[in-house]
């Protein structure tokens, strides 16, 4: 996780409404109107909150038939937590590089 991504995640979780949205989505995927329902705010404002969460990689949208479901992604939070202790940071960074090396290697092998 680079500093820009880290900032995006921290910005995303800095607002109580967005934290409430995340908490709601940890229970399972939901449609836009269901996400917006508990909040006494304009739909437009909820859309903006969702955009910030999406930019941070904390949610994703998936189409199922005519409906779009929004679901929570925990990975960016786990990565931010990896910055907690110097050894958590150290091993997470190293293992990410190690995994990436093999992912790129397999991609190249599949090309040829």
């Amino acid at each position: 996780m680079n500093m820009e991504q880290l900032t995006d995640v921290l910005v995303a979780i800095s607002h109580p409404t967005r934290r409430a949205i995340i908490r709601q989505l940890t229970k399972g995927p939901a449609r836009f109107l269901d996400v917006a329902k508990p909040f006494d705010t304009a739909l437009n404002a909820v859309t903006k909150h969702l955009k910030l969460l999406e930019r941070a990689g904390l949610i994703e949208r998936r189409r199922q038939g005519r409906e779009v479901f929004i679901s929570f992604r925990g990975e960016p939070l786990r990565q931010v937590a990896g910055w907690v202790h110097e050894y958590e940071r150290f091993w997470n960074e190293r293992l990410d590089q190690f995994e990436l090396y093999f992912r790129n290697k397999r991609k190249k092998e599949k090309k040829y």
Partner: protein, 142 residues
Amino acid sequence: MNSKKTLEFKFERTIPAPPAEVFDAWLNPKIPGNPWNMAEKLLLNPQVDGFFYWLIKGNSHYGRFTEMARPGRIHHTWMSRSTLGEETTVTLTFTEQGEDTLMTLVHSGIPDTEAGRGHEKGWNYFLDLFPKQFGHASRRSL
């Protein structure tokens, strides 16, 4: 008996290669991501009772390999300025998962110090909020 509070960190990654290849790559200083890569100075003897020394950003690290079971398991000790002279341990396991390898790294016995936890205070609130999402890199106070 050691009554000091210590930490244990566990990490998991799915590596797209068979265990023997991942095992060998972890011990090859030329492969990005293993601890020995990009060292300023490295002495590495990866066999049981073999020692390592590596220097990075001015910090020296020492250890002794205590178990080498290719391709499934590596166990070694780990000492650095951050372990305050205490001998911590690192255990790696490599488990075949189809064409991939589930790689697990557990670093145990880390002294629980203020310096090491310097970043922690600001994060506690969301660690508490989303405990279920941190299953892949878990931490334990021992």
